[in-house]
């Protein structure tokens, strides 16, 4: 098991290095002058030579290529993600203040999806009939409605019309616990919706498959109660594919969070990223992309390792 974890981490490290290099190359291998490209765009006119020189200076574009690469990587190791184009403050500082908010949202949404999705799928598989059809319909809708539409409609219904929750924004938990939590409800439900549907569908098909196994019939004929077989054996044996599908959905989860932070004005990495893209503040975009991509790789390692813990066969492969 230790070897499995170590090997998975080693692969992860290599992947991190490749990803960091690609992010570096994304700007530096573009045809033409990257500075001109960053300053160009809709309705911004021709950039002045001074502005171009300033951007080149700030991104270190005047140095030889390998020196730039070295500075980039060694800077990253020291936690230096560069400075914002707009006010010159450190990108790492922005990210440090925003990251906890995003993690909170993602964690609550994931928990919500697991707590609702798995029982929902199990229920559909066990009951069948109208319950199954109803849940299938719900999950189909959950998958088809884009997350930003869910968020926007939630704002319209639960915030603006019914006034049950605030329409968005953020207050620190330490200042106003109730206000903080009430602002967390709608965005986390919106994010959880899609992944709940995926988990419910996966659980359903996995449980149905497990219930068809011979050993389930054996367990029943030995005299175990239906609920005993189900809770003690069927569920346990059905959860592997569910964990896998959760791992595959992490990318979508991050995408949903970016959109939902925008809808609810939640001050996380997603809204920081969108603002930076809109203002073409490249150092911030690059910093957020680096942090989120590395986190993404880490999460995938955790999912793989937990999969290995659940299923010994995985460790060997």
């Amino acid at each position: 098991m230790i070897r499995f974890i170590l090997r998975r981490c080693a692969i992860g490290l290599v992947l991190v290095w490749i990803v960091l290099t690609l992010i570096f190359l994304a700007l530096h291998l573009v045809p033409g002058d990257p500075a001109a490209l960053l300053l160009g765009g809709e309705g911004s006119g021709t950039p002045t030579p001074e502005a171009l020189a300033q951007v080149r200076e700030r991104l270190g574009l005047n140095d030889p290529f390998l020196v730039q690469y070295w500075n980039y990587l060694s800077g990253l190791f020291q936690g230096n993600l560069g400075t914002s184009f707009r006010d010159g403050s450190a990108v790492a500082g922005f990210i440090a203040t925003r990251l906890p908010n995003t993690l909170e949202l993602v964690l609550v949404a994931s928990l919500l999806a697991l707590v609702v999705g798995i029982p929902l799928g199990a229920l559909a598989a066990r009951r069948g009939g109208a319950v199954d059809t109803g849940i299938s319909l719900l999950t189909a809708i959950g998958l088809a409605v884009p997350v930003y539409v869910i968020g926007t409609v939630m704002v319209l219904v639960f915030a603006l019309t019914l006034r049950w929750f605030p329409a968005g924004g953020y207050v620190a938990f330490t200042e106003d616990p109730v206000g903080h939590l009430s602002r967390l409800v709608l965005p986390s439900i919106a994010i959880a919706m899609g992944i709940t549907a995926v988990l419910a569908r996966m659980t359903r098909s996995s449980v149905i498959e497990t219930m068809g196994q011979d050993w389930v019939r054996t367990a029943r004929s030995v005299g175990l109660a239906r609920s005993q077989v189900f809770q003690g054996h069927v569920m346990r044996n059905s959860l592997n594919p569910v964990v896998t599908s959760f791992g595959l959905e992490v990318g979508a989860l991050i995408g949903s969070t970016v959109l939902i932070e925008r809808v609810f004005n939640w001050p996380g990495l997603g809204s920081l990223l969108i603002d930076a893209v809109l203002q073409r503040d490249y150092p911030i975009v690059q910093g957020v992309v680096i942090v989120v991509s590395v986190l993404f790789i880490l999460i995938n390692i955790v999912v793989d390792v937990s999969y290995g813990l659940l299923d010994p066969r995985v460790r060997q492969s």
């Binding site: 490209l37 088809a144 539409v149 926007t152 970016v258 690059q286 992309v289």
Partner: protein, 310 residues
């Protein structure tokens, strides 16, 4: 986004062609009764819905719709059922029906182009990696791993920052993002198929590797690829409309469903239909593509269909 689970990838050919009597190419036509039996009423409705959208998109210029971009401030925020504007107008007095239809054109063009790029690149990578093995396999499949190491929307936003928003950027980045699914799907299939007798036979008969790959292997691994197409189209529409909603996809005033939802936000208490109309259309479109995908799956990929439906 629908990434195929490697465990789910079916081994179609191994089950369709019992060894010993393997034909060179599995040339049996897809059974027509399987198509008919896969068509439930709901799925037919979905197919018709997509057909109507495609038709409206093609004919948009000739069915007498007002221009979707020209502003008409006098007639702004008209309700549904107003004369001349059956679905009302937005805050600039632009006809909502017209914007929905021309928005559909943008969605479909982007989704189709991105999917075409993804299928071609992904399938070629998967074919090459699965068939040639060794360093080709390493290069192709590891580069696919690298693309998958980025959360999709994050990669898209990085590219948009450098190149600026616009249709070409969107299509290129989404083609790149959706290619890995096809590469892995094809690769998994090819690895199974490449050791079958009919592939060997083709080689023995003197076919070149490329001919064997494209003429013998490809037709035998095509079914799951085709089944995946509607799902990718749906995924592309979801992602495109999401980026446009953020203001980073289609550049205004070009109509796009995601942009329409974003535009409607400011007036949604008084004019909820302005966000609800595009929302419903997006959801129905995604749902319909999913249902059409089910039809293709039951029709072309019966083993997987059984695995799903039990």
């Amino acid at each position: 986004m629908n990434t195929p689970n490697p465990d789910e990838i079916p081994t179609v050919v191994s089950d369709l062609t019992p060894s010993g009597k393997t034909p060179l190419v599995d040339s049996r036509p897809p059974a027509p009764n399987r198509l008919r039996s896969s068509l439930t009423p709901l799925r037919v409705v979905a197919a018709v819905f997509i057909f109507v959208i495609v038709l409206a998109t093609i004919l948009a210029d000739w069915i007498g719709l007002p221009d979707p971009v020209t502003q008409d401030i006098v007639n702004k925020l008209l309700p549904i059922g107003s004369p001349g504007h059956p679905l009302g107008t937005d805050q600039f007095g632009r006809d909502l029906l017209s914007r929905l239809v021309f928005g559909a054109r943008v969605e479909l063009v982007v989704a189709l182009s991105a999917t075409a790029i993804a299928v071609v690149i992904g399938t070629l990578l998967g074919l090459a990696g699965g068939f040639y093995g060794r360093w080709v396999e390493t290069v192709t499949m590891r580069s696919v791993d690298v693309i998958l190491a980025f959360p999709p929307i994050i990669l898209a936003l990085l590219v948009v920052t450098i190149y600026g928003p616009g249709l070409i950027t969107l299509i290129a980045v989404m083609g790149l993002l959706f290619a890995p699914a096809y590469a892995r799907l094809t690769y998994g299939q090819v690895v199974t198929v490449r050791n079958f007798e009919y592939v060997e036979a083709s080689q023995v008969f003197g076919a070149t590797k490329r001919r064997t790959l494209l003429g013998v292997v490809l037709p035998n691994v095509a079914a799951p690829i085709i089944v995946q197409l509607p799902l990718t189209l749906a995924g592309a529409i979801l992602l495109e409309s999401g980026l446009s909603f953020l203001g980073l996809g289609v550049v205004p005033p070009t109509p796009s469903w995601g942009l329409m939802v974003a535009d409607g936000q400011r007036f949604m208490i008084a004019n909820p239909e302005q966000i609800l109309l595009p929302s419903v259309v997006i959801a129905l479109t995604i749902l319909s593509f999913g249902l059409v995908g089910d039809v293709l799956r039951d029709w072309l990929d019966p083993r997987r269909a059984m695995a799903r439906n039990y």
